[in-house]
Subunit: 246 residues, 2 copies
DNA sequence: AAGGGTCTGTTCGCTAACGTACACATAGCG
DNA sequence: CGCTATGTGTACGTTAGCGAACAGACCCTT
């Protein structure tokens, strides 16, 4: 893989002004994020923060009886470890890699120092916190009102927006645990979408064929989250982003 | 009502060190918050921030078809207007008074200045942001897995924790719109709780009789949220809280 | 080539919650 | 006092999704 590419594949890093970016870059360490790796257990402190590049990391909450739901998708538009900055050090949810790939990590303390300077890093992370809150809210709404099929669409779209390709390596089983529904429910919903020509899948591998169609099949939740991320993160005017090109 | 009492009834204000508190206090304006008042429409900017004291304010999201769900309860452990500080200025959800009472408001700009100084106000609001995120996450979980009755218990407990008494003026209809379920479902669940001797209600008025019992009937979600609020807000060691007594 | 593990397809009865409809009770008002 | 608003009780059939069980398909290893 092309590393210089992946360096800016995390859009949070890409959104930083040159000065901040250059202070942080030397401390970023490229690492592999294998499927299933737990970056933080619920309630535990983490010493590193992670910037996924080609991997997808999720926050999800595990109930006492073992069932689970996804609280937020963190991919290349995000950071794992916001809680170090908000002051609580940790949070009850678990952070897990659910699509293998690469990412960056750095010592939490270093980023915390940068955060305390009160510049662009602070601004960016606060905006990110808001985007995350919107995502979680919308998942709450979606859990209440929408069908498994609609939720699957929303989930696929949010996930793919955080990946370089339209192609995702994941099983129905794993999707089910993210949505908090039965595996059979996912199989059925995915079957419908495939018959409608929107996606195509086989054994742990989903590809989107008709993205506009998929967006139409999704509930309003996807668009709400997408546009808030765009407004808050992607389009931010934090400073000179020339390092992205250099 | 005793105003000097209500001044510190907002626990966010109460948690501030004396210095910060005294800078802010002159700008706090006691106001009435009547049932149903909309403090912010979804997507609109607000010029004031609000600190509920004896009132309960909720964030809730309204879908295209008019149905709604609560995203978070903001009462006397909270502030309405966090989005001014996080950088997005606004957020898609609506802020509504759903239990009448009193509260404080101040110009958003003033608090924003204080926030930018980077002291205790910044710290506190960040911790609050995290608490809010936990609450919203847990509502997402609860929406997915728990019965109407369990959710009603969770909702009652979270609400009452933010009120001075064990007594709440609200109709089944309104609760239903908060939980995002049918009114009949709330009536049935409330009936069960009443028969079990946990609560007692009549025409827009609910009283908790057996709080420990209610906690037992609730799902784990309540306790997760409660303890995170305690850890993050109530127990914070931000500085000298002597003004609370003086 | 065979075998075992993983992933997907499909079935069946079950239940919580839904939508709808309407009866009744209470509070407030003229 | 009676009228009307609003709030609550209850009863129906309908349905999405659940839990459990099992068959078939695909892949990798031996």
């Amino acid at each position: 893989m092309d590393l210089s590419q992946s360096l800016v594949q995390n859009r949070l890093l890409a959104a930083l002004p040159a000065a901040e970016y250059e202070r942080l870059a030397p401390h970023l360490e490229l690492i592999e994020l294998p499927l299933g790796e737990v970056l933080r257990e619920g309630g535990a402190t983490q010493h590193y923060v992670y910037f996924p590049a080609t991997a997808i990391v999720s926050l999800f909450y595990v109930l006492e009886d073992g069932s689970s739901t996804e609280i937020a998708v963190i991919g290349n538009i995000g950071i794992v470890g916001l809680w170090l900055f908000l002051g609580g050090e940790t949070t009850p949810s678990r952070a897990v890699v659910r699509a293998a790939g690469y990412g960056y990590r750095m010592k939490g303390e270093l980023l915390k120092n940068e955060f305390s300077r009160g510049g662009a890093v602070l601004q960016l992370l606060l905006r990110y916190a808001q985007a995350l809150l919107t995502q979680t809210s919308q998942i709450a709404v979606c859990n209440r009102y929408h069908s498994v099929e609609q939720q699957l669409c929303r989930w696929l779209l949010l996930t793919l927006d955080r990946l370089p390709s339209d192609d995702l390596a994941i099983t129905h089983e794993l999707i089910a645990s993210m949505l908090g529904v039965r595996r059979e429910g996912v199989t059925e919903a995915a079957g419908n979408l495939q018959r409608a020509g929107l996606i195509s899948y086989s054994r742990g591998h989903i590809e989107v064929l008709d993205r506009p169609g998929l967006e139409k099949a999704a509930c309003e939740c996807y668009e709400v989250v997408r546009s808030e991320y765009e407004r808050l993160i992607t389009d931010i005017p934090l400073g000179d982003p020339s390092h992205v090109l250099g």
